[in-house]
Symmetry: C2
Subunit: 347 residues, 2 copies
């Protein structure tokens, strides 16, 4: 996809949208994109945090439409490629056409790690239009390497040019990354990518582990913006890859400047990702951040430590939409700890 | 030193002192120490950021004396051991006696990675008093693994019970850590430790790499406090080690609570370590943070990017005290880039 050793995908204007409640303006997006083009970034991804079609009451409304964002960003990019994100079930095949018509150079298609089978039509559409299609397997910590491989092979069959192991909850340890990425690079004929989150402080460490195992395309955000405790901090990643001797396209100083001179002035201090106890326990438990608020409420009701509930939910491998399980788990844990009587008194 | 797989040393009250300009009060230290004792931390280190004797016009005055800090902290610790830091040249052998008299259980003795030979008297003193002595080789990125080993062997000869590879500038990549720690664990008869800084986002990743190679004692700070972009974030490290199956003493939730409930309320937002462009370029160049301010001034005078100067200084392996080289380097770089004429015009 590039003649460098590694291709870098900057998702400041997509995963980074989570950190600003999807409120970047088209003008802000254009400024960030221009700085990344100047820094010779390989790919810039632009979409609502949850992909095209994500702007909704469920996922939060973005400040502008995908059309407006693409119209603002596309003219700023020349050598840097423009990617859009599509989550089948949230976005539709029609939106892929729209994005391509408005200048998208490639489309990344993301499903839960065990649900690649819902993405066939979306790959077909992108490939029919002659564009690069990447498959992203989200929450990859929830499947064993062999299962991740099976799902990746489905995406390969559908036409994917690359498949990513996505550590959406920031729950993988370096060895877990090696096991998954290593198996994929061994068995697939297409490129393998990795997408980190920093909940366990391993955004950069895990990305290096993935590259060691043969990944050739990796994700990051300026200043580590992104959901939860953020993604791999891309200006750091560029510096680390240069220092480690990888041949890459982006210019280290240019990406640093994009981060500090262009992005930082747009962001409030409380929007900057932090590795606090909340993001740490979510990474430890392997649970997505949407569970946090409800879990706190249940913990109070049942006089439990919310961390115990989250760890239990993680063991059950809950996914988005299963938030109703929280009360069941809290009630059971309270029973087990003999605290049931007290909780009943509160009702 | 412990029957766990790994011993954790919390340096919030020592390396963390750098982040607060050495202004923790004895009462604050007592509160943090009590929380760490409750969390079953293995070791708590208490000293000025630059070790005993560091409180001075050169290194910054601390809010209280080492005596006052030790008198406040020692009564809070029971199972958790109390360590003090000694940099020969800054502190004196007499201060080791003082610290032991006031309850220190062990002493860590730190020298530049090529200067272990100045530490013999200090090791002798600690061992004569019957205490554990650890040797810390600072700025370990400035020496090849073989040289690090020679210096570590000197410390072993002087009586060290453990020797640490210290990545004081946060400049090592995981493979660099493996090369150094791996050689030491192979060749030494004593334990090997690792101390990370997060300038390249590798505080946790590098610590895991060190443990992979057989290190058995590692450093961290609550919330990743510490000089530069901070140390390994110790509550994250505890969670990661538990998740990875290491047998450790500290209690995960307890250490998290010490961080968020006890430490965070003591710290201003602008004291929290950040991985910004300044700390990134220092880690990339392998230059200690004391060079930053002077480099900025020289860059302005010679119309250069301060980052170019820092990278050149890093290639020259400058160490603290050599700040006068900055102007020479800037002048030479300006000459080379043909900007000398402009710079002269500014004079």
């Amino acid at each position: 996809m590039t003649d460098a050793d590694v291709r870098l995908v900057d998702m400041t204007l997509r995963d980074g949208m989570h950190a600003v409640d999807h409120q970047f303006t088209p003008e802000e997006m254009a400024d960030v994109a221009a700085a990344l083009e100047a820094a010779e970034m390989d790919v810039v991804e632009v979409s609502h945090g949850d992909g095209m079609g994500g702007s909704s009451i469920n996922y939060g409304f973005s400040a502008a439409t995908t059309e407006e964002y693409l119209d603002a960003v596309a003219p700023e990019l020349d050598d840097t490629r423009l990617s859009v994100l599509m989550l089948p079930g949230i976005g539709t095949v029609e939106e892929i056409d729209m994005a391509i018509d408005r200048g998208a150079d490639m489309c990344r298609i993301a499903t839960h790690v065990t649900e690649a089978d819902i993405s066939e039509d979306h790959f077909t559409k992108v490939k029919d239009r002659g564009l690069e299609a990447n498959g992203l397997l989200m929450l990859s910590h929830m499947a064993e390497p062999e299962r991740v491989l099976e799902e990746a092979q489905l995406m390969e069959e559908y036409g994917a040019d690359a498949v990513y192991v996505m550590d959406s909850a920031g729950a993988l340890l370096p060895q877990d990354v090696r096991d998954r990425v290593g198996l994929l690079t061994e068995e697939l004929d297409i490129e393998v990518g990795f997408h980190a989150h920093n909940n366990l402080g391993l955004g950069i460490g895990n990305t290096l582990a993935a590259l060691d195992e043969g990944a050739t395309t990796v994700d990051g955000c300026l200043r580590g913006l992104g959901a939860g405790s953020g993604n791999a901090q891309i200006e750091v990643l560029v510096g680390v890859l240069e220092k480690a001797g990888y041949d890459i396209n982006p210019d280290f100083f240019g990406v640093m400047d994009a981060a500090e001179d262009v992005l930082v002035p747009m962001i409030n201090d409380d929007e900057m990702p932090e590795l606090d106890n909340d993001s740490l326990i979510l990474g430890y438990a392997g649970v997505y951040s949407s569970f946090l608020r409800h879990t706190r409420r249940a913990a109070e009701k049942y006089d439990l430590d919310p961390r115990e509930i989250l760890i239990e939910l993680g063991d059950m491998e809950v996914v988005g939409g299963q938030e109703d399980l929280i009360t069941d788990v809290a009630s059971r844990l309270a029973d087990e700890s003999g605290a049931a009587a007290e909780a009943a008194g509160d009702d």
